[in-house]
Amino acid sequence: MSNRRKNHILTALGKGQAQVLLKQRITTVILLVAIYIIMNVISQGRFITKSNMLAVLSNSVVNAFVVLGFCFIFSMGIIDLSIGAIMILAGNIGGILAVNIGLGYAGLIIGCIASAVVLEVLNLKLVLVTKIPAWIFGLGIAMVYEAIGSIYNVSQIAKGLQVVSLQNSYRGLGEAPANIIVLFIGIIAAYLIFNHSKVGLGLRAVGSNKEVAGMMGINISGSIIQAGLVGGIFLGVASAVNQSYAGRVVPTTGLNSIATIFIPLAAYLLAITLSKVFNLTIAAAISSFIITSIFNVLTIMGVPSGTWQKVIMGASVVICGILSKRSEKGVVK
């Protein structure tokens, strides 16, 4: 192929890129809608009802925020496995501020966000300073955070109490419509930060090629910390909504906190594959919704929970992975 011809095609691709992308988007949306409609038919119309869709959306809010948090932190190439433990700690701190100190919603939200941000930024700072690989650092620090939560739990148990519970107050944030409004605000904020801000640019540059970005004058550690800060805010919101939704989050031990991020992690990986069609932040919300839907529709269809539901979820994740690789040849990693 001649140089000129190749350039011509690439130019066409550049100009036609928007159209191609639009076409891909429409196809994907149609495909998803079709699957949802088929599922609805199979479940005899109980799947797509206003209340059920609202419930699914409402249930996906926490995961969506966690996945958005991942988008900022994991995209820097830092797989932080302590996020589950951070969220448990943050939720409890928020709960204590809201209930025990009596700061109400402000305490809950600020407590969750502040502690998630502080812990996440501390993690990233320590990773940068100590140069410990993020994987192993996450495992180690998760133990530390879990232990701190556990010490609090034990102190409560000794008093015959459980860890802080919101009881019946401050539960509005975790319920529709508040949580859905928060979700949409969150998605828009994430989209803007990711695509239209300096933090987002630095994050994408460093995530793609640290060395070059550094030589081009991007402050690498600064970018990582900033991304961690933003990611921490999303994780904090996730903890606050979760705390408000569940009322109580019990600290766990033995790295069991990592299990709590398995499903969001699957959703994140799904989002990465979808990010070829949608913007990563939008994809994050969509994939959280899809994963929540899977469990919902399978329950409605009477598929045994805990067993076949999980098998089907695992299979869906793999199939999505395969499909996305088929549509594009280039391997990301």
């Binding site: 690439l10 550049g14 695509n195 987002g200 081009m216 004058g217």
Partner: protein, 500 residues
């Protein structure tokens, strides 16, 4: 020198461990001046450039730009000060669109309250590309999807977008097609007219002599000479670079084709996206040259010959053994060796030892019973490579990244040579190596030929092809347009005419 000096560096020093990469280097560049910088690999020219470009910190020395002291913190800072660079170490961020790469690190003017105005950025980027005549690249395209040449163009435009007083170009011309090369030369002379300075590094001595005003020659971390380009010859420069006389030419001296009757390898109707209907036969003791422009399909053909690249139709056969080569492993088992084009990305594990890199190509040779890869044999073999190719190293356990480019290439080539392979496919074996190593590689090739080894030499360097090959095939747009026999009458001009 009555012209106004734009840039001056004095007594620059840089150590890497115990190596004195730059030892008291001083250089001054006046207005409207094109300077060539040349030297063997490891002579210190890249180090000097990277210090000027702000990529590496200097150990000592002072730099002045337009009369003011100049201390760049990074490449961006250098750019803001008016020094634009296209350097090998620097690249682009694949995960960002072209436009963002252009302005990465200096997006302030598109920001309001830390929010980026993306559209304004793209618009500006498009204007910059247009300004320098490269409007065929879409600024919204993801950089990772660009070709190597296009990436170089983006880097060039980024350097130019700083409106630099000094433009530094490190081995950029090799990556460019003829068309873009001409454009570049146009830009350079335009800048010269505007009174800017240009510092140019290339291994193509002829090109350098043609373009530049003055050539500075470096050796062992020191500047050994400066020559006016119109008063010097490529031969003199070569001599200065190496520090001794190279006896005339380092190519083959015979001017007649010479090879055996036996057909070692035959390609039959090879078809792929990048080339069509390629057929040829490789004889015993023959050096078959395949030349063409970078995108004419020559490199892809090389990959196909070694079965690294899947072909759509046709086959690569070994007539004597009546075997079709389908996998690289089979090719290796059938005594073929392959030196790919990109040494550091395709051929060598740069963070691994010489021993492992040598063994990688000779696994079957060092294998004993039960799949045992004998450490003794491995170190013996790599010792052999080091010895035979005179690689400057501490020993077989030396990590490749600690070697100079030339020595890396010696490892790359040597690991096949010591195995006495029947057929060698060499894709640009002398790319990016200095003259000393280059002539050594040619010697090895001639020696191999004498021993009856057949070589396919793929190259876009015409003197090398003319100087070394028994037969040469010229490719254009994925097709063989002409096959020529070795003769005294072969000239570069004649070949170029066919190539383009």
């Amino acid at each position: 020198m009555d012209k106004k000096i734009i840039f001056r560096a004095e007594n620059m020093k840089k150590y890497f461990g115990a190596t004195h990469a730059n030892d008291n280097v001083s250089i001054a560049l006046p207005k409207g001046h094109i300077r060539g910088l040349i030297g063997e690999n490891g002579s210190g020219k890249s180090t000097l450039i990277s210090m000027i470009a702000g990529i590496r910190e200097k150990d000592s020395g002072t730099m002045y730009l337009n009369g003011k002291s100049y201390e760049p913190k990074n490449s961006l800072d250098a750019g803001k000060n008016g020094i634009g660079t296209v350097v090998q170490e620097l690249g682009l961020v694949d995960g960002l669109p072209v436009g963002m790469n252009l302005f990465l690190g200096r997006t302030e003017k598109f920001e309001k309250m830390r929010i980026l105005d993306i559209n304004a950025l793209y618009k500006k980027a498009e204007a910059v590309f247009k300004e320098w005549g490269f409007s065929d690249i879409s600024v919204k395209q993801l950089t990772g999807t660009l070709s190597v040449e296009q990436k170089k163009v983006v880097e060039l435009v980024r350097a130019l977008s700083f409106h630099p007083d000094l433009l530094i170009l490190d081995e950029i011309t090799q990556a460019l097609s003829l068309n873009n090369r001409e454009k570049l030369i146009g830009i350079i002379s335009q800048l010269k007219k505007r009174g800017k300075a240009i510092l140019l590094v290339t291994h193509d001595i002829e090109e350098m002599v043609a373009i530049t005003d003055v050539i500075t020659i470096m050796r062992d971390g020191k500047i050994v000479a400066e020559r006016d380009s119109d008063k010097t010859t490529p031969d003199e420069i070569k001599r200065l670079m190496v520090g001794r006389d190279l006896n005339g030419t380092y190519y083959r001296e015979d001017k007649e084709p010479s090879y055996g009757e036996e057909i070692k390898l035959s390609a039959v109707q090879l078809c792929e996206e990048h080339f069509h209907n390629i057929s040829f036969e490789l004889h015993k003791g023959e050096i078959l040259g395949i030349c063409g422009l970078s995108d004419s399909g020559i490199h892809e053909l090389a990959e196909a010959l070694f079965a690294v690249r899947k072909i759509d139709s046709g086959c690569v056969k070994l007539p004597k053994k009546n075997i079709t080569i389908n996998t690289p492993k089979q090719a290796m088992d059938m005594n073929m060796g392959y030196v790919p084009k990109d040494r550091d990305k395709q051929a060598l594990m740069v963070n691994d030892s010489i021993e492992n890199n040598v063994s990688l190509a000779a696994v079957e040779l060092v294998k004993e019973h039960f799949g045992f890869l004998s450490p003794g044999k491995r170190s013996e073999l790599s010792g052999k490579v080091i010895e035979r190719l005179m690689i400057k190293t501490k020993g077989p356990n030396q990590i490749i990244s600690g070697l100079s480019g030339g020595n890396r290439q010696k490892v790359n080539l040597g690991r096949w040579i010591v195995q006495n392979k029947d057929i060698l496919i060499l894709d640009c074996p002398t790319r990016g190596v200095d003259i000393g190593v280059k002539s050594y590689i040619y010697e090895m090739m001639i020696d191999s030929k004498k021993r009856g080894i057949s070589i396919v030499l793929i190259s876009d360097e015409l003197p090398e092809i003319i100087g070394m090959c028994d037969r040469l095939m010229i490719m254009k747009d994925g097709e063989v347009v002409k096959t020529l026999e070795r003769s005294t009458g072969l000239t570069e001009e004649a070949i170029i005419e066919v190539m383009i």
